[in-house]
């Protein structure tokens, strides 16, 4: 099994998608000769040609809009939005068209479009390049929203997303692009979960840490650190935000009785709010403390020099864990 970075693992995933689905298309700004600003599409245009790997004009609304048109014609576009903060010009096409055309056409039209978005902070970037905007899309009926956290998932989730029949917002935690792991490109391995399933990354019995994307590593570290305090923490990588695998999540919190949700996005109205409310509705009597949320502060993403204070880190996660136990 080759050891790949997340960036390479998604690259090989895209390659397989282009091979497996003759109608698949990769498109976006600078995805061609440059290979994308994170090199995720490196070499694809050279190997698959400019008809299938398309450098688009600089217009996000039309990247999604033309992808919809291509899908109506039978193509399967995988679009790249260059950075999280640049998906907003496409918001109208995503929310009113991509997400709704199936319902608007009474189920007649189907839009297998994947929108890849490098997401989140941690790389010291300038403004608009570190945002976590998943809550906008999880609240939008008609979309699947997934977020990978490691090379194996990145590879497989991309292939699954691009092989489905529904639109998928596909988040890639940019701070993890350079993380390495073994990636099996052949199907059937039991480590490959269906796209909508959450993954128990670390088993534990006293508290459940729910997270996704760039924060999975942070939560794992927190769980390790908590061992010292004699606490056994279960860490779940949610992977699919919408639909949400409440089965796996609920089973865990039923068992542990305590739950902390961690994400990079601001807490107020963030995706953690949904998890908190949904979990509480389901395991109310088992909860020993309210579901606590750790996330970015309710400010715009700050200048790079403040990232470390802004983003949840080991200490802030452990602080919430402490508060949960102290409840």
């Amino acid at each position: 099994m080759p050891v790949l970075t997340l960036s390479n693992a998604i690259n090989t995933g895209l390659r397989r998608v282009l091979e497996d689905h003759p109608k698949s298309i990769v498109m976006g700004q600078d995805v061609g000769s440059l290979g994308g600003v994170f090199r995720v599409t490196n070499g694809l245009q050279k190997d698959f040609g400019t008809d299938r790997v398309i450098d688009t004009p600089l217009a996000e609304s039309s990247i999604v809009g033309t992808a919809i048109g291509l899908a109506l014609r039978g193509y399967r576009p995988v679009c790249e939005i260059q950075f999280d903060g640049f998906v907003y010009p496409a918001f109208n096409q995503i929310v009113s068209q991509l997400a709704k055309i199936r319902a608007r056409s009474d189920g007649r039209l189907c839009l297998p479009v994947v929108i890849r978005i490098p997401v989140g902070g941690g790389i010291g970037a300038v403004e608009h390049h570190s945002e976590s905007n998943e809550a906008y899309f999880t609240h939008t009926a008609g979309l699947r929203v997934v977020c990978c956290s490691n090379p194996l998932d990145g590879h497989w989730m991309l292939r699954q997303a691009a092989s489905g029949s529904d639109p998928v917002i596909f988040y890639e935690p940019k701070r993890r692009y350079w993380d390495k792991a073994e990636v099996s490109e052949s199907a059937g391995t039991e480590r490959v979960l269906p796209l909508h399933k959450a993954r128990i990354v670390r088993a534990g019995s006293d508290l459940t840490l729910l997270t996704y994307g760039g924060m999975v590593q942070t939560c794992l570290q927190a769980a390790e650190a908590a061992v010292e305090d004699g606490r056994s923490i279960e860490v779940i990588d949610i992977r699919s935000l919408s639909p949400l695998d409440l089965e796996t999540i609920t089973a865990s919190v039923e068992k542990t009785g305590r739950c902390v949700v961690v994400h990079e996005a601001p807490v107020f109205g963030g995706f953690g709010a949904e998890i908190g409310s949904a979990v509480t509705e389901r395991v109310f009597y088992r909860l020993l403390a309210p579901v606590l949320r750790v996330g970015g502060f309710d400010t715009p993403y700050p200048p790079a020099k403040f990232e470390d204070q802004y983003l949840p880190d080991l200490d802030r996660v452990l602080d919430a864990v402490d508060r949960s136990f102290a409840w």
């Binding site: 004009p57 014609r73 039978g74 010009p89 199936r102």
Partner: protein, 351 residues
């Protein structure tokens, strides 16, 4: 640039050197019939709305020539992206009254199978269909298919970012797409002069589109120009743009109150340019339509109106639970659960 005209408002033919058209009696009768039917249908729908049978209606009244002349210039294999007022074009494609009305009755969001008619569902978010048309045309281009794509939109929609992105993208990508603007002078209460400084076809040319302007109330001119432009497009001469100057005789929709913003004299001046009256004058002058033809058209119109009326009241309404089934192609537990809970909730009242 003067708008191309082949038929003046008095019903006289004015052949145009650049836009030849074989003006046969049959062709004119066909256009006349289609426009009459469209107007009759539109009128009936308006009445149905007034009687509470439809939630809303947006009339195509006055724009029949622009729509009939253009859509009939395309091949039936050419895919069309309408906006929301293209009832005349839809009827030409064979879409049925029931299919056209159901959306406005509020039973569904759209009425027909777009693949079957090669006519996309209506798009109500202004200009959003233009990037779709551009992408669809990218697909046609990649397929190497002998097709072109036609996209309708209005003067108001042309101010949206999406419209201009599409003009630019289609031009840059050199796709087989024909943008067709029905400039009916108004976007609800907003006149064209508020939307733009320069004429639209001039803007389109600025993007590198093969752009033309036509008298949109002259069905012959619209047909000739659209045919010619589609032919160039098919020959690979690059994406094109037609601005058809027409007028929205009715209010914007059944909720509108046009008296608040436009004058009777403006309305009158456009009534005088009515596309159907004009073509009728031609038919009359040339003796191309006999009484039998007119009787037949009148009869067809009556039948269409009656059909519209009767199908409207019987339009099927599925059970609400169907709403859960059309959201995603692949079922999710969230939607399955809500569907189940909804049905249980309803059941709980039946006890």
């Amino acid at each position: 640039m003067n708008p191309v005209q082949l038929l003046d408002i008095d019903g006289e033919l004015r052949p145009h050197p650049d836009w030849p058209l074989d003006v046969t009696p049959g062709l004119c009768r066909d256009f006349y019939r289609r426009m009459r039917l469209a107007r009759q249908f539109d009128q009936e729908a308006q009445t149905l709305q007034r009687q509470g049978e439809l939630g809303l209606w947006v009339q195509s009244l006055g724009q029949e020539a622009a729509q009939v002349g253009s859509v009939t210039a395309m091949r039936s294999t050419d895919y069309v992206f309408p906006s929301y007022r293209e009832h005349a074009a839809a009827l030409c494609r064979g879409i049925t009254p029931a299919e056209l009305l159901i959306q406005w009755r509020g039973n569904r969001h759209s009425g027909w199978d777009p693949d079957r008619y090669r006519f996309h569902i209506y798009t109500l978010v202004l200009a959003a269909q233009l990037p779709h048309a551009t992408g669809y045309a990218m697909g046609v281009q990649r397929d190497g298919a002998d097709e072109v794509v036609l996209a309708y939109f209005g003067d108001g929609a042309s101010s949206e970012g999406d419209a201009n992105e599409a003009f630019n993208w289609a031009a840059a990508a050199d796709v087989p797409l024909l943008f067709f603007c029905q400039n009916n002078q108004w976007a609800i209460s907003t006149p064209v002069r508020t939307q733009m400084r320069a004429p639209l076809h001039q803007r389109a040319r600025g993007f590198g589109l093969d752009a033309h302007v036509v008298d949109g109330n002259d069905v012959l001119a619209v047909h000739a120009v659209t045919s010619g432009v589609a032919q160039r497009l098919r020959a690979g001469m690059g994406p094109a743009f037609i601005e058809a100057l027409t007028y929205r005789i009715a209010g914007h929709s059944t909720s509108d109150d046009p008296g608040r913003y436009r004058t009777d004299s403006e309305l009158d001046s456009w009534r005088a340019r009515d596309p159907i009256g004009r073509l009728k004058r031609l038919l009359d002058k040339q003796g191309w339509a006999d009484k039998a033809f007119h009787t037949e058209v009148d009869e067809e119109c009556r039948t269409l109106a009656a059909t519209a009326r009767s199908v409207c009241r019987d339009l099927p309404l599925s059970d609400f639970s169907a709403v859960f089934d059309t959201v995603m192609a692949e079922p999710t537990s969230l939607l399955a659960g809500q569907r189940r809970q909804y049905l249980e909730f309803v059941d709980s009242f039946e006890d």
